[in-house]
Amino acid sequence: MKNALIAVSVIAVLLAVAFSYMLAWSSNKDQIAQLKLDLQAAEAQRDSIHQAVATKDIRIASLEGEVATKESAAELLRARVRQLENQRQSQQREIRALRTIDSLSAKFQATYPEVAELVFVSEVQVEGLGIDYLLVPVWFAETFFLEHEDAQNYRAQRNLLQNVDGLQQEISGLQNEVIGLEREKNLLFQQGYDKAFALYNTCNTDLRTHLATPPRFQLLGNRSTALVSGAVGIALGFSASRLGN
């Protein structure tokens, strides 16, 4: 009777161990499958991000081309403005170089053909000295006032527009700096993401490899456990023998 009980107990223990083993093995297979799915999803996400980044890089390159074209056009316009300023200064020098009254009258007539037939030079006596005067119809003087006002206003407009252009160039420089920093930041993110993905890939693979390895029993794997187990066994055996007596 005693032997039969021992046999039944041993068989029950073996069955329990086998069942636990099978259950653990089955659970590992499920985890391996889930890990594979997780890795596939992560790979798909990574590929999708790379695709989106590539698309935006193409768009950025296209916009940069447009910016370069417009910057060239703006630089040409600035060169044209400088050319016009040089032309203005040259024309002023030419006017100051007029040497005779005849050349002065001719210039006046060419500049204001509206009064070309009405302008003449006359010597007016002032304090006993003859002073040369250019005579024009009296209300024609308004022309000088209006053109003077125009010149002052246009000069102010030019100065403000030059300031605006300077500010725009400054803004453009700062924007380029921001874009450069954004690029560096994106590169750092990309490198970080790639590293994290590679690490995740390694961890996922290692874990699957680990889970794919069948569980092992180590009856005497740990010395202290073996000593404790041995002591408990001896105590149980001693107690059983006393109960049997």
Binding site: Q92, R96, V126, I131
Partner: protein
């Protein structure tokens, strides 16, 4: 002064006139013209940029004409070395 010297002086003076405020420069040119009509010449120098003042040195002719004509042309001030146009 030879004609060539007069042309050189004129060119030099016009460089000074060109530095000045536009209307003030024109009045200085009128003075130079009236002086030249009377065989009198001055050399301008140290014009104030975009200003109404210029220094001068007498070259030849009748020196008294300088202040007399400057007053007729309603200059603000005239000395033996300096011309100031009203502003």
């Amino acid at each position: 002064m030879s004609d060539n010297e007069k042309e050189v002086l004129f060119t030099s003076n016009m460089q000074q006139v060109g530095v000045m405020q536009t209307a003030a420069g024109s009045m200085i040119k009128q003075l130079l013209h009236e002086l030249e009509k009377r065989q009198t010449h001055i050399r301008l120098h140290d014009a104030v940029s975009n200003g109404h003042i210029v220094q001068y040195t007498f070259v030849e002719g009748d020196a008294d004409l300088i202040s007399r004509l400057a007053r007729i042309l309603a200059f603000k001030d005239v000395t033996s070395t300096r011309l100031e146009v009203r502003s």
